[in-house]
């Protein structure tokens, strides 16, 4: 009956939730389901947020005005991931990048593929590669990844946040 004394036990915390996306994010994701990237603009400082969270955190006001942005942008920063992440189907090494869409004041995280890893650099122009329309849902995964456009790099100083 006596077992070896254990140094630890595993806690059994497990809770179920029904997560909601937020009103602003819901509007954004419903547009993503139509293949559109719709940003929101601050009524005070005109900063453009994509994906939007419903507010301009530097002004503390709601961002009601919406504007559609193109699916092109530039690499604001990146990292090459060499470590496999449990549950992630992508085989390393691969590029995770902060992508600043043209016309946006913030960047978001996505993948860059169709690229030689040695070529990735800040300022590189990229464009979204979408899944087949039949697979679109209310998720940014509608964009499989971004790929280089081959256009001339942008000057990284444009990444400064709007004054």
């Amino acid at each position: 009956m006596t077992e070896e004394k254990k140094d630890f036990f595993v806690s059994n915390i497990s809770l179920s939730y029904q997560y909601t996306a937020g009103n602003a994010t819901t509007r954004f994701l419903n547009k993503v389901a139509e293949g559109k990237l719709v940003a929101q603009k601050c009524p005070k400082c005109s900063a453009v947020y994509v994906p939007p969270r419903g507010s301009c955190p530097r002004c503390g006001v709601a961002t009601e005005e919406e504007l559609e942005l193109p699916d092109t942008g530039a690499v604001e920063s990146f990292t090459i991931v060499h470590i496999p992440i449990p549950g992630n189907p992508i085989v390393p090494p691969y590029v995770s990048a902060m992508i600043r869409l043209d016309g946006a004041d913030i960047s978001f995280l996505h993948l860059i593929q169709e690229i030689d890893l040695a070529d990735i650099r800040i300022g590189m122009r990229v464009q979204a590669v979408w899944k087949d329309r039949s697979e679109w849902g209310t998720t940014l995964e509608n964009i499989k990844w971004f790929k280089p456009t081959g256009e001339a790099d942008v000057d990284p100083s444009v990444f400064k946040f709007k004054e």
Binding site: M1, T2, E3, K5, K6, D7, F8, F9, V10, S11, N12, I13, S14, L15, S16, Y17, Q18, Y19, T20, A21, T25, T26, R27, L29, N30, G137, T138, T139
Partner: protein, 151 residues
């Protein structure tokens, strides 16, 4: 994310889990170790008061407790609540009670469950005894539940 019946409202179910490895330390570790041998131990303060489950500190004056004493696996119900229809996470899925139980000769109460009885048999002051879980995990669940001692 899936669309629910609310127009355009997005909801996604998900499960949040924390399978942390917790180290119980010398006092709680000893209590769990003894539980897996089907023995109940408590800790004793300098006034001779006994805490079961074993407390690391006296909750009144923070005295560090390290003296262990073995206690009988029988106790008295200090309070209880009858759960007719168990809910999601409850470990017993037939009617049962949560109870505060003072083990014989102790000065504190232990939170645990009472099963194998009807609601009308249960009252404050009732004597109960430990029913052990066959499979031991060196956790508080090595006590499966308590049951009423027939007079």
């Amino acid at each position: 994310m899936t669309k629910s019946s609310d127009k355009e409202l997005l909801r996604a179910s998900f499960k949040l889990e924390y399978p942390y490895e917790r180290s119980p330390g010398p006092v709680i570790g000893k209590f769990f170790d003894e539980l897996s041998n089907e023995v109940l131990v408590g800790t004793k303060n300098s006034k001779g008061e006994v805490f079961v489950p074993a407390a690391e500190f006296d909750p009144k004056d923070s005295e560090h407790l390290s003296e262990f004493v073995e206690v009988k696996n029988e106790g008295v119900v200090q309070s209880y609540t009858w759960i007719k229809k168990p809910r999601a996470h409850h470990l017993i899925q037939e009617s049962f009670a949560f109870a505060l139980i003072s083990m014989e000769g102790t000065d504190s109460a232990m939170l645990h469950m009472i099963a194998n009885c009807n609601e009308n048999e249960l009252e404050i002051g009732k004597r109960v005894k430990v029913v052990w879980n066959e499979e031991k995990t060196q956790t508080i669940r090595d006590i499966k539940y308590f049951e009423i001692i027939d007079d």
